[in-house]
């Protein structure tokens, strides 16, 4: 059985849908800005589900009024890392919340190798499971 026939990374919002266009992305950003979130852009080529912290592209953007600034930053990041995963994250600074409220993947490498489930036999018939990215054994920058 294929669990992910499209071979696409599914993390964050809208990841089962076709990629958002720039206009749709701007609308999402606008929504977040309306809620008072601070957007930031992050990229990685190791999208393992346990890889929580991706690399930051510039600082988180506080005090923005319009989505154009965020779109500009995403465009810059796409240009710099065309073959990386890029995600947009909205940080909610409300006291007591102080965490990521939205996360959208806005760029994917041309081919997404995906993950394999590794089974390790231990102690007789017991199994240990590990998720491993197919691209993970290659060095950084060559994984996509």
């Amino acid at each position: 059985m294929m669990t992910n026939p499209m071979g696409r990374l599914t993390q964050g919002q809208f990841s089962f849908l076709p990629d958002l266009t720039d206009a749709e992305m701007a609308l999402q950003v606008e929504y977040g800005l309306g809620k008072g979130y601070a957007w930031s852009v992050e990229y990685t080529d190791d999208p393992h589900p346990r890889n929580t912290y991706w690399d930051m592209y510039g600082m988180p953007m506080f005090d923005l009024k319009d989505a154009a600034g965020v779109v500009m930053e995403v465009t810059g990041c796409r240009k710099a890392f065309p073959n990386h995963y890029i995600r947009l994250m909205a940080f909610d600074s409300t006291r007591g919340v102080e965490s990521i409220a939205m996360s959208i993947i806005v760029n994917r490498p041309k081919n997404e190798p995906g993950f394999m489930l590794e089974r390790q036999e231990v102690n007789g018939r017991s199994l240990r499971y590990t998720t491993r990215g197919y691209g993970a054994d290659r060095p950084e920058g060559e994984r996509g």
């Binding site: 696409r8 266009t21 319009d66």
Partner: protein
Amino acid sequence: MYSIPGQVKAQAVAETTAAGGDNALAAARTVAEVLAHSHVEPVLQELDDALVGLAPVKARIRDIAALLVIDKLRLNLGLAAQAPSLHMCFTGNPGTGKTTVAMRMAEILHRLGYVRKGHMVAVTRDDLVGQYIGHTAPKTREVLKKAMGGVLFIDEAYYLYRPENERDYGQEAIEILLQVMENQRDDLVVILAGYKDRMDTFFQSNPGMSSRIAHHLDFPDYAVGELMQISQKMLGDQNYRFGQGAAKVFEEYLTLRIGQPHFANARSARNALERARLRQASRLFEDRDRVLTVDDLTTIEERDIRASRVFQQVKAQP
């Protein structure tokens, strides 16, 4: 079950653009219709009422507003027009109202739908230029991002360029600024402000900047009569008024003050009024046992102004 990425894109874009446009404004065929939908008339009226003098500036703002309205009508009939370049340069002596007009401009442009949010971000050289290599670009970019959807007001813009220092980081800020001014015209409007002569030198050494700014507005100095009107308005806003003869003395004060160095138009008038308020306060403070009426508390007397340094200097001179 799954759709192929990219398949739905074209349709989605069409939908978002249709939803984003204001339908009523898109159907407008007369100037009055556009004005009715954009509420620009009250802003222009307010500009006329709230700002004294500045006739050439007001005329130019009307022109710009008219162009934007007509462009909207042309667009409604399918006549393609390039988005007008709205970057501006305000020159004039200190205190002539550059910042105030910039704020109004942001609002006018917002009501006409040329900037999406209509806020104004006011910055100076310090906010744009960094202190070490690699500091300037992110700093300038951050400011630009904050200003997007509104107006970026750069006060004393000529400080960005320091010809005496070849390695000054200001040049880098100017380059980034130019790039965004050119490529993201519909995202933000840049207004440069500064003294006339220094801005002229600035533009001479940065021809790229000069050619990207369509509107050069020169703010004339105020005449004494205009300054009096402004002063009356300022006092009124703070619930004060001139007492018997005080207005005449203040006019005399302004006439003398204009001739002196470091005269900053409306700002000088405001400072003079602030000092008069201080003197009024200490005059009332002296009378410990007097019951102070509303009249006492709101009136600036002749002697409060007469005590000014400006009058004493004149007396000392002959």
